[in-house]
């Protein structure tokens, strides 16, 4: 018996080794092909005539949030370009594993790569440097210094719809206390929290936003605890910047509080408490980036930079979710007015904007551009309660 099982084990190992060897030689061949074709067309523009497009996601494609929205964008690309192979990889960590996954996609013929998580930037830049003929775009981060000819970042001005949702929250709150559960104090999140508070202040000077960070993009138990703490402090509107959003949404509904959504329309989880929210729609932007690269026009295009799209150019991939049943027409009109304002001449961060400790961030009357906002709105504004965790 023992002998038999040992032979079985040995043959199983041999079989595995054979399979692995077969796979290995296969991929060797395809990567050799890819590199040879790469060198022959090295003079061509990044992404031109690509046979495939690669997308990497940091989380699962069905998280009811950030990654799901990005995945849906990838599927929109697939539908729009039937001749392109769309390669996707979920749960790609934000480290050198990401480099390997992207290299694998390039070996399969992808010359256009979307790295969709904030800290995928470093691996993405490595890949871009190694493959001048591949267009690498990253979602949400910011390339400092010179942008390589085959790279770029893109994002929506997420804080615009968040500001509009803040207006709704400021009008709806009875306790003047709003709650914000966030993961890490990255610039994007800080700008969101500030915009939310400023939106609320614009219609309710007494509104304050209480913040809790969870140091995790998706730990439902921590989220539940954070929500309970905020509710216990008298907060009656909860919102969040987390990758998975169901727990906090349900916690607000169960406590009879209101909830402002983020990433996706979760109004079905809180039929009573849902008041407003913001959600992603990447399809138009993804398709345009792919088309630009396929045409060989990536270098020098608006995507070969830190591209930011907002209400002003009408391409913002972050849009308002639907209103909840308790939101009055008056409030909706206020939001509509603010939206028109931002689309034409305004900004959620139109001065004066003061920081928590009373410093002037944006001077009175100034309408900052997107780059200014990304560099100045990195601290909490007045009216936000809580301190960012420091890593030192």
């Amino acid at each position: 018996m023992r002998r038999i099982s040992r032979w079985a084990a040995i043959s199983a190992v041999l079989l595995l080794a054979l399979v692995a060897a077969a796979c290995g030689s296969n991929s060797d061949k395809s990567s050799a092909n890819a590199s040879s074709s790469g060198s022959s067309s090295s003079s061509s523009a990044p992404g031109k005539d690509s046979k495939a497009v690669g997308f990497i996601f940091v989380g699962p494609k069905d998280d009811f949030g950030y990654n799901q929205a990005a995945y849906q964008g990838a599927m929109a690309v697939k539908a729009a370009f039937p001749n392109l192979k769309v390669l996707t990889a979920e749960n790609v960590p934000e480290n050198d594993d990401a480099t390997r996954v992207m290299e694998g996609m390039i070996a399969k013929g992808a010359k256009i790569i979307f790295a969709t998580s904030y800290n995928h930037l470093d691996p993405a830049m490595k890949v871009a440097a190694a493959h001048p003929d591949v267009a690498v775009v990253q979602q949400g981060n910011f390339i400092k210094g010179t942008v390589p000819a085959n790279a770029g970042t893109y994002f929506g001005t997420v804080y615009e719809p968040v500001y509009l949702a803040g207006i709704v929250a400021g009008k709806q709150t009875k306790t003047n206390k709003l709650g914000y559960v966030y993961a890490y104090p990255i610039p994007q999140t800080v700008a969101n929290i500030d915009a939310f508070e400023l939106g609320a202040q614009s219609v309710n000077p007494k509104a304050e936003t209480y913040t809790i960070n969870t140091s995790n993009w998706c730990d439902p138990a921590k989220q539940e605890e954070a929500a309970k703490s905020l509710l216990a402090q008298g907060v009656d509107v909860l919102t969040q910047h987390q990758d998975c959003t169901a727990t906090i949404t349900k916690a607000a509904e169960a406590a009879g509080a209101m909830v402002v959504g983020y990433h996706a329309d979760a109004s079905t989880l809180a039929p009573k408490g849902w008041i407003a929210g913001s959600e992603w729609d990447w399809s138009a932007l993804y398709k345009d980036i792919v088309q630009t690269a396929l045409d060989g026009k990536f270098t020098g295009s608006k995507y070969n930079a830190n591209f930011r799209s907002g209400l002003k150019d009408g391409l913002n991939p972050f849009v308002q979710s639907k209103y909840g049943p308790s939101v009055t027409q008056d409030t909706k009109d206020l939001v509509a007015k603010a939206k028109t304002d931002i689309s034409t001449s305004g900004s959620p961060f139109k001065g004066p904007v003061m920081s928590q400790d009373g410093k002037t961030l944006i001077a009175d009357g100034t309408v900052p551009d997107y780059a200014t906002i990304e560099s100045t709105i990195v601290v909490f504004v007045k009216g936000v309660v809580g301190e960012m965790p420091k890593s030192s």
Binding site: P60, I212, N216, P220, E225, C244, A246, T247, E387
Partner: protein, 298 residues
């Protein structure tokens, strides 16, 4: 403090299960995996039957089934316990990502908080211990029961014997394998219940890898508590408190380094393990000492 009990209960279930398993001489690092499959099975079955009790039972059974896999490899095949545990964990992680996707967006009829009449009105204590979900109350019985069974009954003696000196058991005609199987499977059963508490009573949601290392914490707690149920209860609540403390402090405007606070329980475990390591090593069942390759004076 209420948060300590609320957040610690899922860990406590796993810790009780692991206490039983380790007493019988089997370390199950797959506890995290049992917890995950328990969380998903409970959530999925509750979603389909609208009865959280049936869900909890399903979760416990799923946890037990995964522990059975661990038991098979380490007991029948004599595989390395620590390595097998990790493999079982990844099996659980993979299975739950595969089958869990459909349930991410589902809402279920979860366990409701039930305030114990009279007792819940006791100031302070009432709030901490008597305003919870039914699965939490169950642990108040489970902990003393685990202690009693392990320390004061014939079955407990067999379990301890299996972990301590299995040769003696076989000499007396007992089936050591059967006892160890039972202990490991019960361990998985309880870990599955812990997962069920997490998904259907606490967070009210299912997400991939939602246990976030709580099963590992439970294994650490058990080692640190030297398999004593009451001490393990304290350890579990310590982690629950750490979990609850950081948001509670933040919202009250206390400025403590968040990242340091998050790592506090793990630091505490490491320190305690270093301090008590030597002393506890000698007290551990001999079967366990073999697993960790501790030196045994012969």
């Amino acid at each position: 403090m209420t948060g300590a009990v609320r957040g610690g209960t899922s860990i406590l279930y796993c810790a009780m299960g692991e206490s039983v398993s380790e007493t019988a001489g089997v370390v199950n690092l797959g506890t995290e995996g049992s917890m995950l499959v328990g969380a998903l099975a409970a959530y999925a079955i509750t979603a389909n039957t609208h009865n959280p009790w049936i869900g909890a039972l399903a979760g416990a059974s799923a946890g037990a089934a995964l522990a059975f896999v661990h038991a098979f490899f380490v007991l029948n095949r004599k595989a390395n316990q620590l390595a097998t545990g990790l493999v079982v964990l990844f099996l659980g992680l993979g299975l739950t990502s595969l089958f869990g996707a459909a349930y991410v967006a589902r809402t279920v009829n979860s366990f409701k908080t039930w305030k114990v009449p009279l007792l819940s009105h006791i100031p302070w204590i009432g709030q901490i211990f008597f305003q919870h979900d039914p699965l939490t109350y169950l642990t108040f019985l489970l902990v003393p029961a685990t202690w009693f069974v392990l320390q004061r009954t014939g079955v407990g003696l067999l379990v301890r014997g299996a972990g301590e000196r299995s040769e003696v058991l076989s000499t007396y005609g007992h089936n050591v394998l059967r006892v160890q199987y039972l202990a490991v499977v019960i361990g998985g059963f309880l870990a599955g219940l812990g997962g069920a508490q997490l998904s259907t009573a606490y967070a009210n949601a299912w997400f991939e890898n939602m246990t976030q290392g709580r099963g590992f914490v439970a294994v650490a707690v058990v080692i640190f508590a030297a398999r004593k149920p009451l001490a393990a209860m304290g350890g579990s609540y310590l982690f629950g408190a750490a979990l609850a403390l950081s948001p509670a402090l933040q919202v009250r405007g206390w400025h403590i380094n968040q990242f340091a606070l998050d790592s506090l329980p793990y630091l505490a475990i490491i320190v305690v393990l270093i301090l008590l390591g030597k002393k506890r090593a000698a007290e551990a069942p001999e079967g366990l000492q073999k697993v960790f390759e501790m030196s045994i004076a012969t």
